[in-house]
């Protein structure tokens, strides 16, 4: 019998303040997994952007719609799934925020930040049209135990 991978499930309503709860849980998980603070901040920002998109654009801030977040801790990778109840969208239709004509636009950077701060990102759309964003980040290897005993001069 194999041991199941640990997973953390968070269900939030479609309110901006609920995003903070996901942020808190994700930050704690990343710290626990040994991510350096700078990297953890970036991954948390990627997760925050995905959840904000789900709440605002997917669920359109409708109070009865749920955003589900699952953090699955694998042997090598942390996988994060963010699922909304919206009508889906085309991620390729989002213009490049670095293009000169878009640089001063106030929106359109969320997906760019997600792509930048995780190792892999995938968008899936289920039969109901809901969007599932999948983010993956390599878990840092634990520091090797020091072999100081053999190095000690007697």
């Amino acid at each position: 019998m194999t041991t199941p991978e640990p997973t953390i499930h968070v269900r939030i309503g479609s309110r901006f303040e609920d995003i903070e709860l996901v942020d808190l849980v994700a930050a704690a998980a990343l710290t626990h997994l040994g991510f350096e603070e700078e990297v953890a901040d970036k991954v948390c920002l990627a997760i925050r952007e995905a959840v904000a998109n789900a709440v605002q654009h997917g669920n359109r801030l409708e109070p009865d719609k749920i955003t589900q977040v699952v953090l699955a801790i694998g042997k090598e990778d942390l996988e994060i799934e963010i699922k909304d109840e919206g009508g889906g969208f085309d991620p390729e239709s989002v213009p490049n925020p670095l293009a000169a004509e878009n640089l001063l636009k106030p929106t359109g950077r969320g997906i760019f930040l997600m792509r930048r701060f995780v190792d892999a990102i995938d968008f899936e759309f289920d039969d109901s049209g809901a969007t599932v964003v999948k983010l993956r980040k390599r878990i840092p290897e634990p520091p090797k135990p020091s072999n100081s005993e053999s190095e000690v001069e007697i």
Binding site: F16, K42, L45, L104, P106, R109, G110, L113, R116
Partner: protein, 112 residues
């Protein structure tokens, strides 16, 4: 997020403390800048020394603040950017849009 406003040599300095993120901090930043401009401030410094986090909505509000101040005939400066915020502004190339300072005296002097 908390904001507080002070004045130095005719320049409005808005001290920002906390997160500039969707739904709260972004709105407070917008309100603080709009109120300052409505009160007649044309040159504004955003002191971000105690800003802990910023997401894409916060970045959008920074751009909107920049455009709002510019439209009123003034200039906006950013002061004391924490490393994590400097990083995201660099990644998104927004750092090229703003004048950024590490020293308040220099930020104030830059308007003269």
């Amino acid at each position: 997020m908390k904001t507080s406003v002070r004045n130095r040599e005719g320049i409005t300095i808005i001290d920002l403390q906390g997160k500039i993120t969707i739904g709260e901090g972004d709105v407070m930043l917008r309100d603080a800048v709009h109120e300052a401009v409505a009160a007649g401030s044309s040159n504004i410094v955003l002191n971000m020394k105690k800003t802990s986090k910023m997401d894409s909505s916060g970045m959008g509000e920074l751009i909107a603040a920049h455009e709002k101040v510019k439209a009123s005939g003034g200039m906006l400066r950013l002061l004391n950017l924490p490393e994590n915020i400097l990083n995201v502004l660099g990644v998104t190339q927004l750092i090229t849009v703003f004048d950024v300072f590490d020293d308040e005296d220099e930020a104030i002097a830059s308007f003269k």
